[in-house]
Point group: C2
Chain length 308, copies 2
């Protein structure tokens, strides 16, 4: 087999109280990569579809190319690779767009070369791609994109990535207003220090969320989906944030927060119907601020990127 | 029945990464209260055994008395009560001594008056007693002392106390060096702010500890038992802290930290034998600093205070 097609899903990083340590994957939408081995010794991108010409075709500047290059370097192999990238995720949306492209390419090359590494072992190469995309080699999108489900990044030195067993069905609504926020901008506005009180609040909530997921306690999850670190600052980038969030909770969401660094908002619900109603309520609320938005409703994805 | 005897166990608050949000109870040691209803309308302490005369007999100044008074006030009852308190837990040790006395008395009065309230409902009255003892109405000792096991205090406003299901057997070693540290002193030295980086580290570790307990993953528990908030500062009160901690880990403990505000250190182990060896190693290490210490080895207590 010389060619393969891989789908990698959107991911929600931070998850309110899990700033920089937690992410999860959804089933849909996601990016696709068609990867083909060839006789050259280079990694090249033949085309990118769906980015409106905004992403670089230069392999060393594109997350798909960088991820594959890092992988080949690590296994000590010179291999010609041609990548065709189908961008379905909007750029700068907070839905893990750069992560999905890198992960799709990485899973594709690993699969074609005999699945030498596990999904968890692929995380560092996908992180290298994130460094190109947004300046920091963070794992809270790429790890859930690779592994599926909720993934905790307990530590970076050394990297400690933990899949969280979840004991209830959860549905995610992603609402992407037509705004663009750069991860680097949205990181710069964060304060470098915080009060001990806020750190304790955040600790209580992330612990509560973990226990809620493990014990299948939707009400505990709901009470824990709060963010006192990033949301108070980053929500300023999103017109009508408080009202949209309130509309989600009123429509039955367990909670609502900024997906990654935004502007996409995510919510969690315990059934598909509720997740759809939540999305519609949020879309209408954004409209009051003259913002159009896309709404995606999906189960939590349990397997990560997959060959299609 | 007019009289009852209740045992309330020692508790470990903070548990490294769970600063101000987590605590657990051990089986042994603990305080005992003999509580008797009488015809007066007052709450009195008849005697305190084992405190070397250091605790006030005045009911409104003693955690056992305050807890009972708060309980009676809440249920709107004037009831004569006589309390005999057997202090087995050393004062100012970080083993939840004040909490145990308050909880023992509270469970006793609730039981004698027909178990009107659940253990979780008793938490606020025990917190009132903590306010008398150490100036802050914290719940991370009293909640596990009442409910047993690992208890998360997710929030205080409103109070949200969550029992954490633990899927492995754990043994605790408590090593109490002959030093006294006042909770109020040890709280004052903490800095009111911290770096975002440290807050993220703490978040990753508390989340890891919760997942480790839920999934019965002792190695994840071990990796997560780290504290970047209180330990770097409070350990200065404990001569030889780093070496004692290292001796515990070398002897097989999953981790080691300061119990509450110290000076007692706690460790967790996966079997009784290991927990004993850990205790002996720590005791010997403290001796190098000319500190005698008591060692207690016990399973995690799952039921909290109990009638005996």
């Amino acid at each position: 087999m010389n060619t393969i097609k891989v789908f990698a899903p959107a991911t929600v990083a931070n998850v309110c109280c899990g700033f920089d340590v937690l992410g999860f994957a959804v089933d849909f939408p996601g990016d696709e990569v068609v990867l083909t081995l060839n006789e050259s010794k280079e990694v090249t991108l033949s085309k990118i579809i769906g980015d409106e010409g905004r992403l670089p075709l230069e392999a060393s500047q594109n997350t798909a190319g960088v991820a594959v290059q890092a992988f080949l370097r690590a296994i000590g192999m010179e291999q010609g690779v041609e990548i065709e990238l189908h961008k379905n995720l909007p750029l700068g949306s907070g839905m893990g767009s750069s992560a999905a492209s890198g992960v799709a390419a990485l899973v594709a090359i690993n699969e074609l070369l005999g699945s030498r590494l596990t999904r968890a072992q692929l995380v560092p190469f996908a992180m290298e791609a994130e460094r190109i995309a947004c300046g920091s080699a963070h794992a809270d999108n790429v790890a859930p994109c690779l592994m599926g489900g909720f993934v905790l990044i307990r530590d970076y030195q050394p990297l400690d990535v933990v899949k969280v067993n979840v004991n209830l069905d959860l549905f995610c609504t992603l609402v992407h207003p037509h705004l663009e926020v750069k991860t680097s901008d949205s990181r710069r506005v964060l304060r470098p220090t915080l009060s001990l009180k806020d750190a304790i609040t955040q600790s209580g909530n992330i612990a509560g969320l973990m226990v809620g997921l493990a014990q299948g306690d939707s009400q505990l999850i709901s009470r824990s989906l709060k963010d006192v670190i990033a949301e108070p600052i980053r929500s300023a980038f999103i017109p009508g944030f408080e009202q949209v969030k309130q509309s989600a909770v009123s429509a039955g969401a367990l909670g609502c927060g900024i997906s990654g660094s935004g502007p996409t908002l995510f919510t969690l619900s315990t059934n598909h119907n509720s997740a759809q109603q939540v999305g519609e309520a949020m879309r209408l609320e954004f409209l009051k601020n003259h913002l159009m938005s896309e709404v995606y409703v999906s189960k939590i994805n349990q397997v990560g990127a997959r060959v299609i």
